[in-house]
């Protein structure tokens, strides 16, 4: 792998010279390293699409799999399909960071389509960190699509973070939950300059006692624009909560469009949305502790996006 990939891997996947588990490292559309383990098999996509299949054996305990993807130069349009088959009762962490870098005028783009088939009682933690780097004029774009099907008693916790350098992102996430399945999504997003970010969540709660909690926290600065769309569909006795909190600065624009669809009288769905600048009182409080105004603002944003 090249130096830029190594640096990006450090940012998006905590890479320090090696990974402790199964992994596949994708660089500019090709595979530069791959390792399966006894319980986690990584293979080429059987439908012949660019991308991978990750098979986690039933009952696997606390193992990790890393599938980071990096684009390290302009004029690369990377598209990958990764399918995850998680066996019943398995417990795994999947780290799927993506870094796009360009030092030239060409566009660096990564589109990742991730599908999760999560077996009965399995527990998945999915970490997805996105970053754009480099000094080139070329746009850095990341458009992830995530689809998840959770069987009975399955659980997925998705942490998704994008803290700058990506000119445009369109993020689509769709999930379907069977009985007692649980989905938690935590999104952290920061945009600046002329960047744009769109987030679109659709969660369908089909099974009794299924539950979801979708939390998006974002900071929009400069002239950036963000759009947050969430839709929770309750088809059974279920509970759903979505929350969009945005801090607005400069001339940025944030739109939040929540939708709740209840098709069962025992569906309990809630949405909360709050958009506004940093509360002046918060800055005052931190200044009384000796921080300057700038330090206070940075600390508040850092905590908010933690």
């Amino acid at each position: 792998m090249n130096k830029i990939t190594e640096k990006l891997l450090g940012i998006v996947a905590g890479y320090k010279g090696k990974f402790d588990g199964a992994f596949n490292i994708r660089e500019d559309g090709g595979c530069v390293a791959r390792q399966s383990t006894e319980n986690i098999q990584i293979t080429a996509h059987r439908e012949g699409k660019p991308g991978l299949e990750v098979h986690v054996a039933p009952g696997t305990r606390d193992e990790k799999v890393y599938i980071p993807a990096c684009v390290t130069k302009g004029d690369v349009d990377d598209l990958t399909y990764n399918d995850f088959y998680i066996g019943d009762g398995a417990r795994v962490t999947i780290v799927a960071g993506c870094g796009v870098h360009t030092d030239d005028a060409g566009e660096a783009r990564h589109n990742g389509v991730h599908r999760f088939f999560i077996g009965k009682g399995a527990t998945v933690t999915y970490d997805e960190k996105h970053v754009g780097t480099g000094t080139g004029q070329g746009a850095r774009r990341i458009n992830p699509v995530t689809e998840a099907i959770l069987e009975e008693d399955a659980s997925l916790t998705m942490d998704t973070v994008q803290l700058g350098g990506v000119q445009s992102t369109i993020r689509k996430t769709e999930a379907t939950l069977a009985a007692r399945a649980k989905l938690i999504i935590r999104e952290r997003l920061m945009t600046d300059g002329d960047e744009t970010a769109e987030t679109d969540f659709v969660v369908t709660l089909n099974g009794d006692d299924s539950a979801t909690h979708v939390v998006s926290r974002s900071v929009a600065k400069g002239r950036s624009r963000q759009r947050f769309v969430s839709r929770l569909v309750g088809n059974a006795r279920c509970s759903g909560h979505s929350e969009c909190d945005a801090i607005l600065a400069d001339n940025a624009v944030v739109t939040a469009a929540p939708q709740l669809d209840a098709y069962n009288e025992d569906a309990s769905l809630i949405h909360e949305a709050a958009i506004g600048k940093i509360a002046g009182e918060q800055i005052l409080k931190l200044r009384t502790l000796g921080l300057t105004e700038e330090q206070a603002v940075n600390r508040i944003i850092q905590g908010f996006l933690k």
């Binding site: 918060q282 005052l284 009384t288 502790l289 000796g290 508040i300 905590g303």
Partner: protein, 240 residues
């Protein structure tokens, strides 16, 4: 020594919130400011901490005029202020707020010591966000602990008793007494007799002016008398 010299603060509509207030607070003294609601107590505290700039008058610290200094500069000069209405933060934990206040990392012993003074069980709270999930009493205690964490030479507490249960209140009063023993200067805005009883000096602020001030042993009997009468002592009266 902290001096408030002829401080006035007027709202844009012309209403006088503070009128020619002068107070001198000696090193290591505990001064309790009390008086009816709307009398100007919180505004006066904010003037000292730099959150409100006075319309007239000046603030002096150790013979140096600090009126022009902003909030941050005054904090760095050793002035701390505990808000009457604590501020809530999404994404800042109790531990992080304590460490920001202290200016360094804190170990479990340090955190236990701080939070214990305000009656909070450390393990239950350190990783909780200082946000809407804390009750009014809990966040008030966290706010007080943030001032204690700074441990600066001058500490201002604005109605520290508000929302605090009896058991925690006892340990809070003990914490104030210990600070007094270690020669910290404190200004406490309070209506609580237990706090007024540990003051060196008492100031009654009403209608933006000092109505009564002096040593605790002189002022407290008058306050208790007036409490029986159901009104605030009338007219400015300074007891030497």
């Amino acid at each position: 020594m902290l001096e408030i010299r002829n401080v006035g603060w007027t709202l844009p509509d012309g209403a006088d919130i503070l009128k020619d207030v002068s107070i001198t607070i000696g090193e290591g003294k505990l001064v309790v400011i009390t008086g009816p609601n709307g009398g100007g107590k919180t505004t006066l505290a904010k003037v000292v901490a730099g959150l409100v700039r006075p319309t007239t008058g000046s603030i002096w610290l150790d013979g140096k005029d600090i009126t022009h200094m902003d909030i941050t500069q005054r904090a760095l000069q050793g002035i701390s202020y505990g808000f009457q209405q604590p501020v809530r933060f999404k994404g800042l934990t109790v531990r992080e707020l304590m460490e920001l206040s202290a200016g360094h990392d804190l170990d479990m012993d340090g955190l236990c010591d701080l939070l214990g003074k305000v009656g909070l069980c450390t393990l239950d709270y350190i990783d909780r966000d200082v946000d809407g999930s804390l009750s009014g009493g809990e966040i008030k205690r966290v706010e007080i602990a943030s001032v204690l964490a700074r441990g600066t030479r001058i500490m201002i507490f604005d109605e520290p008793e508000a929302g605090i249960d009896l058991w925690s209140f006892n340990s809070l009063v003990s914490a104030f007494e210990r600070l007094k023993d270690s020669h910290h200067t404190m200004i406490i805005i309070s209506h609580q007799q237990r706090i007024i009883e540990i003051a060196d000096e008492i100031i009654v602020l009403a209608d933006g002016g000092i109505r009564l001030s002096g040593l605790r042993e002189d002022v407290l009997p008058l306050l208790l008398e007036s409490e029986m009468a159901g009104y605030c002592p009338v007219g400015k009266k300074v007891i030497a």
